[in-house]
């Protein structure tokens, strides 16, 4: 038990990691669209706090810029834009029924274990105190993927996609104290463009098939 050897700030990073994972589970279980968007914003906020803490602990101040990008994009812009779209598409009250939700939860738990197992060789190498968070961020990525697979509503899939991005950012922040600045900027730009394109797509899907349920996107098959 060397946990005590860590300074409090790093313990807080670990706690934030656990909370980010928790929000991932909440996203997976949440069926109301507006609450889903809010939970996503909270995940972004936790990521922002974690980034700021890492920036302070490691003394790499360029991480503060990355934290600012997270705050602007993940906490404000994307949730705001999604909310606006949800209001404009008038699907605020939509409740999505997720089939066999307990099974999905167990699956998510299994994914966490899997990521732990996958990341095991890495944690034995790293000198950084935050190395354990690699498994957590991989789990967040995989749970985002699970969410995309299990959800039928386009908005929920987008949130799953964006929460995968959160997992990636968290991996970069905690495992390596952030990526080089130019990469961070590029990734943020891609996320921004993706968020805008998703909005465009919502309207296209809505106009094309009359609903945002991607189950209706079933015309193209591997073989006919």
């Amino acid at each position: 038990m060397q946990m005590a050897a860590l300074p409090l700030s790093e313990q807080m990073i670990l706690t934030l990691a656990a909370l980010i994972l928790f929000t991932s589970f909440l996203l997976l279980a949440q069926t109301r669209i507006v609450t889903l968007i809010h939970t996503f914003a909270w995940q972004g906020a936790l990521l922002f706090f974690a980034t700021v803490l890492v920036a302070i602990v490691s003394g790499r101040h360029h991480l503060l810029i990355s934290a600012g990008l997270t705050l602007a994009l993940k906490v404000f812009f994307i949730p705001w834009q999604l909310r606006r779209l949800v209001v404009r598409l008038d699907i605020r009250r939509d409740v999505e029924t997720v089939g066999s939700s307990s099974l999905i939860m167990i699956g998510a738990g299994a994914l966490v274990l899997f990521s732990y197992y996958v990341a095991l060789p890495i944690r034995e190498l790293s000198m950084l105190s935050t190395r354990n968070t690699i498994a957590i961020s991989l789990a967040v990525i995989l749970i985002g993927m699970l969410m995309i697979i299990t959800r039928r509503k386009a908005v929920a899939q987008v949130i799953g996609f964006m929460s995968m991005e959160n997992g990636l950012m968290f991996a970069a922040v905690s495992a390596t104290y952030g990526m080089p600045m130019v990469v961070e900027l590029g990734v943020a730009f891609d996320v921004l463009v993706a968020a805008i394109l998703f909005g465009v797509f919502f309207f296209q899907i809505r106009n094309g098939i009359g609903s945002l349920n991607v189950d209706h996107l079933n015309r193209l098959n591997e073989v006919d």
């Binding site: 890495i122 190498l125 080089p180 094309g208 098939i209």
Partner: protein, 488 residues
């Protein structure tokens, strides 16, 4: 050096310009002019690199060596010839009302944007930027796939966006892991994601991390290559988007994704000291080759059929890069060229054929050779070339690949040859009635410029009969870069 910057600035300029004036009648010509200029500068760049060796920009952002410069040249070339086709094609689409002015602007601007991201992805020295550019290519093309706004095209666009987005996210995780491994060797350095730096320190990187990273990178970029089982987006995106888009997706994007995988393999092989990465690539490649050749039979849409053929050939190249060794790598590099040229030629022809018949359905396209002999013959010859008949270049490269396979993995030749036969049967079963059948009444020829197709096919023929010494030594340089020793 200025040639490199010009090569990148021109498409950027084109993106911005055409987003404003893309609906002009002359937009197609402007697009072609910019593409031609890009091709000329990339040719200058290639000559530079050929004469002076690898080129590292002063700020270390870009790195061009024999391996990527030939892909840059290929990209610019296919971009240019497809632009020749795309002008009249899109004008026709505008005429029959499938697109409007706004979408024309989007189309032309994103055509250039796509070329830009491809060129950045190829020339960048930063592995993170490589990811950003490949993801950018998805973003640039995703709205083009759904350009026609039919339910099918929207479905294809959404699938493309989701599957590639999710896949490419895995690649970013792999990149983070590479950075993580690099940080241990070069702590605190801003340069530890630069390929030129990493390659020097490749043997010091931690094998356990790199193995894990490569799994994620292969899954991530493999989604973009269209490797089975991550290929679902590819036939949809190819069949529903505008045909010039299918041509450059098949001819360029898949190559660039494969290029990314091979770059990472070059990093990982020295660190691991084993062919683990290669074995994974061989597995995925072989699976894609076999599955795609089977699925080819069951298609009703001609563009879908040829996109399965793309999956098949990408699988073969992945397999060949996986085998490693100079012979297989030389063959794979050659195959990249001939496949790009042939496949984009086929898609251009298919675009004309679909205009002639008014549909993309295999059952309804009939008698091309009687209605419009030029289209019919090009269609037939293109199919012959892609199926790997001598004397076309595809035969040469496949021959090299199979020779390499017999040398190192003799048993694997059996599934390869079987699949090749199955794919051949599938292609001809569908193509023969389309070319030779009885044309439906009232089918008339359309205005078609077949010169790009003929040029491509002639090049492929030339590469099949005699590879020019310059090109051979050039590909050999690239082979040396990838596997450490050359073939010649």
């Amino acid at each position: 050096m200025s040639a490199l910057y010009l090569t990148l600035v021109l498409p950027l300029f084109g993106t911005l310009l055409l987003s404003l004036i893309g609906h002009w009648r002359s937009a197609g010509a402007i697009n072609l002019a910019i593409c031609t200029a890009t091709f000329v500068t990339s040719l200058l760049l290639a000559i530079d690199v050929f004469n002076q060796g690898p080129l590292l920009s002063p700020d270390k952002m870009f790195y061009v060596d024999a391996f990527n410069v030939y892909l840059i040249l290929l990209n610019a070339f296919v971009g240019m010839t497809t632009a020749v086709f795309s002008g009249p094609y899109m004008a026709h689409e505008l005429e029959i009302g499938r697109v409007d002015d706004q979408r024309m602007r989007l189309y032309y601007s994103m055509y250039q944007g796509f070329l830009l991201t491809m060129l950045v992805a190829l020339s960048t020295n930063n592995l993170g930027l490589l990811w950003v550019a490949v993801e950018g290519a998805t973003l640039a093309t995703v709205l083009l796939v759904s350009l026609y706004r039919t339910p099918e095209s929207i479905e294809a666009g959404w699938k493309y966006f989701m599957i590639c987005g999710v896949g490419i996210a895995q690649a970013l995780f792999g990149t983070v892991l590479i950075y993580f491994a690099a940080e241990r060797v070069l702590p605190g350095s801003e340069e530890s994601l630069l390929w030129s730096v990493l390659h020097q320190h490749a043997t010091e990187l931690e094998p356990a991390v790199l193995t894990l990273a490569f799994v994620f990178l292969l899954v991530g970029y493999g989604t973009k290559i269209g490797l089975v089982p991550l290929h679902n987006w590819l036939p949809d995106a190819h069949s529903e988007g505008p045909t010039p888009m299918s041509a450059i997706l098949s001819g360029l994007l898949l190559n660039v994704a494969l290029y990314a995988v091979v770059r990472f393999k070059m990093l990982i092989d020295p660190a691991l000291g084993s062919n683990l990465a290669g074995n994974m690539m061989m597995g995925f490649g072989l699976l894609s080759f076999v599955v795609a050749s089977l699925l080819l039979h069951r298609q009703r849409d001609v563009k879908r059929m040829f996109s399965y053929s793309s999956i098949e050939h990408m699988g073969l190249m992945t397999f060949a890069f996986g085998i490693g060794g100079p012979l297989a790598t030389f063959g794979a590099l050659l195959h990249m060229i001939v496949h790009s040229l042939t496949k984009s030629a086929i898609f251009i022809t298919v675009g004309h054929a679909a205009h002639v018949a008014g549909t993309q359905s295999i059952d309804k396209i009939r008698g091309l050779i009687r209605t419009q002999p030029a289209v019919g013959w090009c269609f037939l010859l293109g199919t012959v070339a892609i199926a790997g008949f001598p004397p076309f270049g595809v035969f040469t490269s496949e021959f090299l690949l199979f020779t390499a396979t017999i040398k190192s993995w003799p048993w694997l030749v059996i599934p390869l040859l079987c699949s090749l036969g199955i794919a051949f049967a599938g292609l001809f079963r569908h193509v023969q009635p389309m070319v030779f059948g009885e044309p439906p009444a009232g089918q008339v020829a359309v205005k078609a410029n077949m010169w790009p197709v003929i040029l491509h096919l002639l090049l492929v023929l030339w590469l099949g009969i005699a590879i020019p010494g310059v090109l051979a030594s050039w590909i050999d340089q690239a082979t040396t870069m990838v596997v450490g020793k050359g073939l010649l």
